[in-house]
Point group: C2
Chain length 195, copies 2
Amino acid sequence: MTDQSNQSELLEFFKALADANRLKIVGILARQSCTVEELASLLDLGESTTSHHLARLAKVGLVSARPDGHYYHYSLQTDTLQAMAQRVLSADALPKIAQEIDADAYDRKVLQNFTDEEGRITAFPAQDKKFQVILRYVAKAFEPGVRYTEKQVNEILLRFNKDTATLRRNLVGYRLMEREGGGGCYWLVDQKTEA
Amino acid sequence: MTDQSNQSELLEFFKALADANRLKIVGILARQSCTVEELASLLDLGESTTSHHLARLAKVGLVSARPDGHYYHYSLQTDTLQAMAQRVLSADALPKIAQEIDADAYDRKVLQNFTDEEGRITAFPAQDKKFQVILRYVAKAFEPGVRYTEKQVNEILLRFNKDTATLRRNLVGYRLMEREGGGGCYWLVDQKTEA
DNA sequence: TAATTATTTCTATATATATCGAATTGTATT
DNA sequence: AATACAATTCGATATATATAGAAATAATTA
């Protein structure tokens, strides 16, 4: 769970293409751009279902929509497809995934050493790297996009360790969470947008 | 459902890679070959689960097993991965899928015209191409690999039309089914192994 | 503004499959 | 042979998601 960027991006790409109807959509759009209606009738699917599939393909950049009248013309982004294919071909794409797995395994081991069966933190690691693992673990208890009062934050942190102050301070210090002014408002930092 | 060879092969390939743990396995095997046990512990998964994933990857030729002692060494078939990537890049792979969809749509239309709501055949098309669509539709009522007596065959065909003789004769004539000697033994022909 | 049409979102359901634990198979060693 | 160990298969469960239908949204036309 350390750095999933490579992993999850590739995974989402493959998942997008791992459905018979979505693959068909890509095949059709390779020839001509279509409206949702056209696709639905070609595939013998409901329009809502077709729309859903298109949304999934769009999410990974495989298709794009161009509005025209009250139609949307969906078309294939061939460059995305090619870029992904190139990426899989590249020598270092797979080893990178392997590195991420090593990091995951490391995290698991640290977690095992510093938490009990109930997931509570038994001790704070002195080593900075391990301490960050613990912090990332704790951060997962918060929902992305939600704002918490300091009281709520403490309540959640208490499930992990009685020293909520240390946890709270370091979550902010290591920029896993952010705090409004001096006040009581906390939220998760989206790690993806961070360098 | 006319000629799914391109479709289904690509689909199975993407499905094989559309799982986080299988993608991780590929990543690990890109560096080193492993036993099931090793992979299971690296991924923090049960051995049976790991085995299942490896079987799926092997099915599309992405990994291969080499027996050694009582271990199996699984390794990545990088050439399969490259071949698939090349294929996606090739200009005609996607249009081919589109053709298959057209064929599917054609089949559906024929079926609609010559069957009723309950799936019974209302008339036999005069046109050869359409007649074959009907035959392929009927053939789906039989299980691959199972041997049927003539009586059983007739029983099944009766669900589609009272003229079981015509259906039976043409299923064999168009090589969708095969018959033992002059006798009462029928079975589906595996279309994949046919030219 | 009302009405029409295309698309999306929401809700519910059905199907596929990832997962585990137990039993089984297969291979090598004693 | 008998035993030990790795791997697979089987049975059951839980989760993800493909699907359809209804309601909501957006955009155009009357």
